[in-house]
């Protein structure tokens, strides 16, 4: 039998339900692995060892008593530390909320628990989710497990969520995505991440960055696992008035393994143009793979996409400043510097510019909706570059020197403006062994087709078989910087 921490969510759920493996054993293996590796990787801010083991013992007892298991019965998950958890501190990776302990679970957390999932702990992130690098000055920046020699960023803001799955510290995690915060760490860490349609998954109990841009999504090794998790998370929630009343499909049953007949639009202008050569090569190869599997691929463009950056900035900066103004006035010194500067820069946005940005948003949505009447999916790189090293501020792409932050969110944030569902899927590696991700974009509320194509691609390729060097034998990854994050381990 494969090592338990190598199994997918779907495999674990099946084996636990059929009593081939005990949920207690599964949770214990993950906790052992976290103890062995996370001092170095720093994916977790809080580890819930005893509550997780108690939940696993209860899950085992329920199975023994013949109770019908939920779809995630006994399966461990970990949560970005932005999701409220009853009785368990939720810090947003900040000093300001270091001692905040919510009284109730976020809706998605409650739904995962109701499906049988067991919470292993809370995960590191860019402070208050405001940064695509995933750095954290308060608790330490998680280490991208794909480079044993250099400290590379995992991508953010859901940095711990990406690292935990890539390094086998959790089979699935939750992230939030305001400009790419699920998809960027998924791409840079070589895993799968789904940003569902705006309104598909409740944001109630999730600390906001920018209300109208925030999305909640699952991260896991495979698209099939994301489908399983989404089914448990999605659906109307009276606590979040932006959630849709549409019924939630069984996404797993949509995974036919076929893309035959699907019309895929390859986004070259703006998206492939300006990406690093190895990224372009990987995405073009993926397009050819989809074609070989029976999809029809042609090249398309979104005319106004270049305006996504200023529009997204105007909206996110204004909404984030509105949320943070109270702390920014009272405790400015408690923010990490990049986040404080970014928040203060929001004061430069006028009301007029905010409305202009909403006009751009409407225009972009219209253009994408129109493209998606003729295509089932759009294909683009997730990031134009692979993971930079921590502290690097610029990257060279072709002949151009580009700011790291701007480069990382360039290709993901247009879809936060428009709200369309997007899955980031590993599609190759650089010669240095760093993962490359691609985005599959679908029609609003058509996550089923997005996941179906992602799953079919993953069945036909072997990228998911690779394991990062820092996720090797448990105990082999400890090194400089080992030790618990300050006051953070429970």
């Amino acid at each position: 039998m494969a090592e338990l921490t190598e199994l997918t969510v779907a495999e674990l759920a099946r084996m636990i339900a059929s009593k081939e493996v005990s949920p207690v054993e599964v949770v214990r293996r993950y906790l052992d692995r976290i103890a062995a590796l996370d001092g170095h990787l720093r994916a977790f801010l809080t580890v819930c060892a005893e509550p997780a083991l108690a939940a696993a013992r209860q899950a085992e007892a329920d199975l023994g008593a013949g109770r019908t298991p939920g779809p995630l019965h006994g399966v461990p998950v970990a949560l970005k530390d932005l999701f409220d958890t009853a009785g368990l501190r939720t810090t947003a990776g900040s000093k300001i909320l270091a001692d905040r302990t919510p009284r109730a679970d976020a809706t998605v957390v409650a739904r995962l628990r109701a499906a049988g999932a067991i919470v292993l702990g809370k995960l590191n992130l860019h402070e208050f989710a405001y940064g695509p690098e995933g750095v954290n000055e308060h608790y330490g920046t998680p280490r991208n497990p794909w480079d044993a020699a250099r400290h590379r960023i995992p991508g953010g803001s859901s940095s711990g969520s990406g690292v935990a799955v890539a390094a086998g510290l959790a089979p699935a995690t939750l992230g939030s995505d305001t400009g790419g915060s699920v998809r960027i760490p998924a791409a840079l860490c070589g895993i799968t991440g789904l940003k569902p349609t705006y309104g598909r998954v409740s944001r109630a109990g999730v600390l906001p960055l920018a209300w109208s841009m925030d999305h909640v999504g699952p991260m896991a090794r495979t698209a099939a696992d994301c489908a399983l998790l989404l089914r448990c998370m999605a659906g109307y929630d009276p606590a979040d008035p932006t959630t849709s009343v549409r019924p939630v499909p069984d996404y797993t049953s949509a995974l036919t393994g076929s893309v035959r007949g699907l019309r895929v639009g390859l986004l070259r202008a703006f998206f492939l143009e300006g990406a690093a050569p190895e990224v372009v090569e990987a995405v073009e190869r993926a397009a050819r793979t989809l074609e070989a599997l029976g999809a029809k691929v042609d090249e398309v463009a979104v005319p106004s996409v270049a305006y996504a950056a200023p529009a997204a900035f105007a909206i996110v900066a204004s909404e984030a400043l509105a949320y943070h103004a109270r702390w920014l006035r009272a405790r400015p010194g408690d923010y990490q510097r990049d986040v404080r500067d970014r928040l203060r820069a929001g004061a430069a946005v006028t009301g007029l510019q905010y409305v202009r940005a909403q006009q751009v948003r409407a225009l972009l949505r219209r253009e994408l909706d129109e493209l998606l009447t003729r295509h089932d999916l759009l294909l683009a790189p997730t990031t134009p570059v692979v993971a930079p090293v921590v502290g690097q501020t610029e990257v060279t792409v072709g002949d151009a020197v580009v700011d790291v932050r701007t480069a990382l969110i360039r290709l993901t944030r247009p879809f936060n403006l428009t709200g369309h569902p997007v899955c980031s899927v590993p599609c190759g590696f650089t010669a240095d062994g760093l993962p490359i991700g691609m985005q599959l974009v679908g029609r609003a509320f058509d996550e089923a087709t997005v996941l179906r194509a992602a799953d079919a691609y993953q069945r036909a390729t072997e990228w998911l078989q690779r394991r990062p060097p820092l996720a090797g034998a448990a105990g082999g990854g400890a090194g400089p910087g080992s030790g618990a994050a300050p006051g953070a381990r429970g």
Binding site: T197, Y198, G199, S212, P241, T242, T243, S244, V245, R246, S304, A306, Y307, A309, P310, A311, F313, A314, A317, L321, A325, L328, R329, P332, D341, R342, R344, A345, A347, A348, V349, T350, L352, Q353, V355, R356, A357, Q358, Q359, V360, R361, A362, L363, R365, G419, A444, F445
Partner: protein, 82 residues
């Protein structure tokens, strides 16, 4: 500090053109002080100087919004709840 009205003479170094969003991309210290005071952020002068690059990058980015002829495009004002 803004917007400046169309046709109004620009009062800062970085203003270019008469557009209603006034393509301000550079700010004096006084303008930065005013900006911080309007937002009630209580930022000291030395912090404002350090913040200037971030603000000017933001302004340069925002100026892009004026380039797109948005005409009668109605802004997104409702979530897509169906």
């Amino acid at each position: 500090m803004r917007p400046r009205g169309e046709g109004e003479a620009p009062a800062c170094q970085g203003c270019r053109g008469p557009g209603i969003l006034a393509r301000v991309t550079r700010l004096t210290l006084d303008e930065l002080r005013l900006l911080a005071r309007l937002a009630d952020l209580g930022v000291h002068d030395e912090e404002l100087e350090a913040l200037r690059p971030a603000i000017e990058r933001a302004l340069a980015s925002l100026a892009e919004l004026e380039r797109l002829p948005l005409g009668d495009v109605e802004p997104t004002t409702q979530y897509r709840v169906t």
